[in-house]
């Protein structure tokens, strides 16, 4: 018992140091002009990027060295597809390095790639930092969020394929190993989310979607909390939550039965003026449901990241090591809450999706 307590303590200290270390390197990265800008650092962290930046060695010296996993940039321009590695920008995101490929010139301005207009060799920025002589090409680069998404997919596939294999191997379908770890979660999604929200008879059809969404969101939420991955803020990215919300919306709309549409266009059981009054509200409701799903997940996860980063920024804003213990303690506290939030947000997204499916397939009960 004492040994395990000790181990746990050691692990906590390790996590804590990695935690502060990871964010510290992130904070330093945005200290280019000497003056620390917390907002820039936080936004840079929360938004997507073209490379997986791990850490910077010899910060601010001549032999400054960035340790980064370069990721492919894929652009579609008038000259067709253009691909190159993100390392060609040399970690520049101020538009200083111009990459010439396929007859076009590209710059990276705040982790957004712009294509310079013909004949231009230097990007010109307006007061707000937006380029004036460049356009945005169609960009399907494998950014760090896409990269982390694929990592999470690999983890999910490994986890659940091996779990499924465990069942095949066992004789009486008794779970063992990984299977005994994932089975309670799967049964939880089935018994606590799908069955009560959709109903005993129809829930089976939606189980694959609900399970996939639940674990996909949860794992990516957790990845967002691991500091060394340095800002894998996939589930805090509105593009990601939008796609999932749209999937829920499509499934709800497709599986909506007569009763569902009747409740939207001609609410039964209320007087006619009320029916006319309710119709637009209900029609708006169809769209606000997925929108609220999208914004809830995005805002919760992003807010968590911003709070932790803001607490860490205090050290650099006050330029004092004395603030560090307070910052780290608070960030740790928020971090622990965030661990709970990762699960809660995955749960809420899944529950509400199931609730909407249940509403769409509910039979009339009069």
């Amino acid at each position: 018992m004492t040994l395990s307590t000790f181990k746990r303590l050691l692990f906590t200290i390790l996590c804590l140091s990695v935690y502060s270390f990871g964010f510290a390197s992130d904070a330093k990265a945005s200290e280019k002009d000497g003056e620390f800008n917390a907002k820039d650092m936080i936004m840079h962290h929360v938004k997507d990027a073209y490379g997986m930046h791990i850490l910077t060695l010899n910060e601010g010296k001549a032999d400054e060295k960035h340790i980064t996993i370069p990721l492919p940039v894929i652009l579609y321009t008038d000259n067709g597809f253009t691909t190159f590695m993100s390392s060609e920008f040399h970690h520049d995101y101020h538009g200083e390095v111009v990459v010439e490929k396929n007859g076009n010139r590209f710059v990276n301005v705040h982790e957004k790639i712009y294509q310079l207009n013909d004949g231009e060799t230097q990007v010109q920025l307006d007061e707000e930092g937006h380029p004036t002589n460049a356009s945005v090409p169609l960009d399907i680069s494998v950014t760090r969020n896409v990269f982390m998404m694929w990592v999470s997919v690999i983890v999910l596939l490994l986890l659940f394929f091996s779990a499924a294999r465990r069942y095949k191997k066992s004789e009486n379908n008794v779970p063992s190993g990984v299977a005994s770890f994932v089975e309670p979660l799967i049964v939880f999604v089935r018994d606590e989310i799908a069955k009560p929200m959709i109903g005993e008879h129809k829930y089976k059809k939606y189980m694959p979607y609900l399970l996939t969404v639940f674990f996909f969101i949860w794992l990516n939420n957790i990845f967002g909390l691991i500091p060394i991955l340095n800002g894998a803020n996939l589930s805090g990215n509105i593009a990601f939550t939008m796609v999932l919300a749209i999937f829920t919306f499509i499934i709800t709309t497709v599986s909506g039965n007569k009763n569902y549409w009747k409740h939207i266009f001609w609410m039964p059981g209320v007087p006619v003026p009320m029916k006319i009054f309710l119709m637009p509200i209900e029609i708006i409701g169809i769209f606000t449901k997925p929108i609220s799903l999208m914004i809830r997940l995005f805002a919760n996860i992003t807010a968590g990241h911003i709070i932790i980063l803001a607490l860490m920024s205090l050290i650099f804003i006050f330029k004092s090591v004395a603030v560090a213990p307070v910052s780290v303690a608070f960030a740790l506290f928020i971090g622990i809450i965030e661990i709970v939030v990762t699960a809660i947000q995955a749960y809420i997204f899944t529950v509400l999706s199931a609730l909407y499916f249940g509403m769409a397939t509910e039979e009339a009960h009069h």
Binding site: V46, D48, S141, M149, A163, V174, T212, V243
Partner: protein
């Protein structure tokens, strides 16, 4: 502002990745896992149901046994009762028969006594008549000789012959 503008690249890759993930997991993970879990649950449910059935059968059996036992008991009871009734009836009949016979015997005896008595009375009457005639003869004879003698004679006669 940039924060809430979905980037096309990420949307594209998320759609592609999510659909592939959904298809792969659905086919190779959720189906076997959910199938195994529900199969096992079915098995447990079945086992429980069969146990319940066995228990019910056992109970039925027990109830049957109880019923049969009860029936046997009531049968025995009724048989005993019947036997007792028969016994009582037999005894009662025997008693009445005995009584009747005794009554008859007594009646016969009384009748016999009565007839004996009558016969005895008749004989006595005859006897008295004979005696009376004898006395009358003797009286008549004595009368003829002496008056005193006659009286004395009657006295003697009466002393001699006493009605028994």
């Amino acid at each position: 502002m940039d924060l809430i503008k979905p980037g096309f690249g990420l949307v594209f890759w998320t759609v592609v990745t999510f659909i592939i993930l959904l298809i792969l997991l659905r086919k190779f993970a959720w189906k076997p896992i959910l199938g195994a879990v529900s199969e096992r649950e079915e098995g447990i449910k079945e086992a429980l149901a069969s146990a319940e059935n066995a228990r019910k059968e056992m109970e039925n059996l027990k109830a049957d046994n109880e019923r049969i036992l009860q029936e046997a008991r009531t049968e025995r009871e009724s048989m005993l009762k019947e036997a007792r009734e028969i016994k009582e009836k037999t005894i009662a009949r025997a008693e009445t028969e005995a009584q009747e016979r005794a009554n008859k015997i007594i009646e016969k005896a009384q009748a016999a006594i009565e007839s004996e008595k009558k016969a005895a009375m008749a004989e006595l009457k005859n006897h008295v008549a004979d005696l009376s005639i004898e006395i009358a003869e003797k009286v008549v004879r004595a009368e003829l000789s002496n008056k005193d003698r006659q009286l004395g004679l009657v006295e003697d006669m009466l002393d001699e012959t006493k009605l028994n």
